[in-house]
Symmetry: C2
């Protein structure tokens, strides 16, 4: 086990979930040791640290273990209280950020990844769900530079995958979800987000993402429809 | 719209989701106006307040709207800071409470309700998932009076349905999940929880729950398997 005050993150290069945690740590200026996991051949360390879900990301701090990316983001914000604060201070604004983060995960992300990884009617169904979810996100970001206002916050980090993973998934799945003409505000936000120096410097290489997600898409498309739980 | 400082809650009598919010408000001593929704014939108020999910519970405070029960619980804790605090103060303990609340929802609650509402192999599959999830919960509560330690907290409220809804679902679905011999610590916690004066006085009548969940079970059992997303 690492010494008491070190921060260790178990992640996976092309995962949007562990990348969220990296963004938050980098924004806060927290040093950490990054450990790449092979999610197809999970290490005994991962299985020991996250026996419930056996998933990355896992954060280890003070020899304590935190898993689930949104739970980790809140932990980071509460533990390293220095600027930038990730969640807003107003309780109602905090509630909104948490609400839309969960919405992004359960509606938009699942439907988008699912549409990339399916065929025929199921693909159409998921694509429709993804576009409907994107319509709600578009309403939320209208008139703002970031979801967090003038700077990147919790919800920007939570939805950050839209800016970089979604275009890859669209290419791999031959689909379009984030149409710039239909969703100009989200498109503009995605540009702002990717232009942030911390984000720009902390992205997986696109040339590693494309073959990985092609492989995943091929695998899941071969399963009977209904494997995606949305 | 209600005047500025009133608290209004849209709920449904036999819903464990809106009951969570009632427990939290009562524990904090917050006065609120309760509005019963007909979830089969949703009011224009509900559709206006929660256009995204169109679901109860919805809390209205200072003319601002908060939905999703876990988001509402955090809002309540952050807005009415008086005792009892629902979430622990230590960031790692907070992370654990959030982690297990989400686990209870996504694994145990869905599988338990699903097992009540399905037949044959699907029922067996969901029952097995529910019992596996209960094993994890049992490990967490061992040696403690409440998940929150010596008093009721966020995670007790989040998992409170286990104490009162689950026995109804077991009866309606002719299943057993919370076997007292296999899960003595959870069984003992459920008793402690139901004995708390605020909880005891804020439960829906069992005689209204039984026919309601029988009806739901009959309806969902008639659908093709796979409707439950777990």
């Amino acid at each position: 086990m690492a010494s008491d005050d070190t921060v260790k993150l178990l992640g996976f290069l092309v995962s949007p979930y562990s990348r969220r945690v990296e963004w938050a740590l980098k924004l806060k200026g927290v040093d950490y040791e990054y450990v790449e996991e092979d999610i197809f051949n999970k290490s005994s360390l991962l299985l020991e640290l996250n026996p419930v879900h056996k998933k990355i990301p896992v954060l280890v701090h003070h020899q304590k273990v935190i898993s689930e990316s949104y739970v980790i983001l809140e932990y980071i914000d509460e533990t390293w209280k220095q600027s930038p604060l990730l969640l807003p201070q107003d309780p109602h604004e905090r509630a909104k950020a948490r609400f839309w983060a969960r919405f992004g995960e359960e509606k938009l992300l699942l439907a988008s990844a699912g549409a990339m990884c399916s065929l025929g009617e199921e693909k159409e169904r998921l694509l429709k769900l993804a576009i409907e979810a994107m319509e709600k996100i578009e309403e939320e970001i209208k008139g703002k530079e970031f979801f967090g206002g003038e700077s990147i916050g919790y919800l920007d980090i939570a939805l950050g995958w839209i800016s970089y993973w979604l275009p890859v998934w669209e290419e791999v799945g031959s689909i379009q979800i984030l149409d710039p003409l239909t969703f100009p505000a989200t498109t503009s936000w995605a540009k702002n987000f990717l232009n942030h120096p911390i984000i720009k410097d902390n992205l997986p290489p696109r040339q590693k993402m494309i073959p990985y997600f092609h492989e995943r898409s091929k695998f899941f498309s071969s399963l009977p429809p209904g494997w995606i739980k949305i």
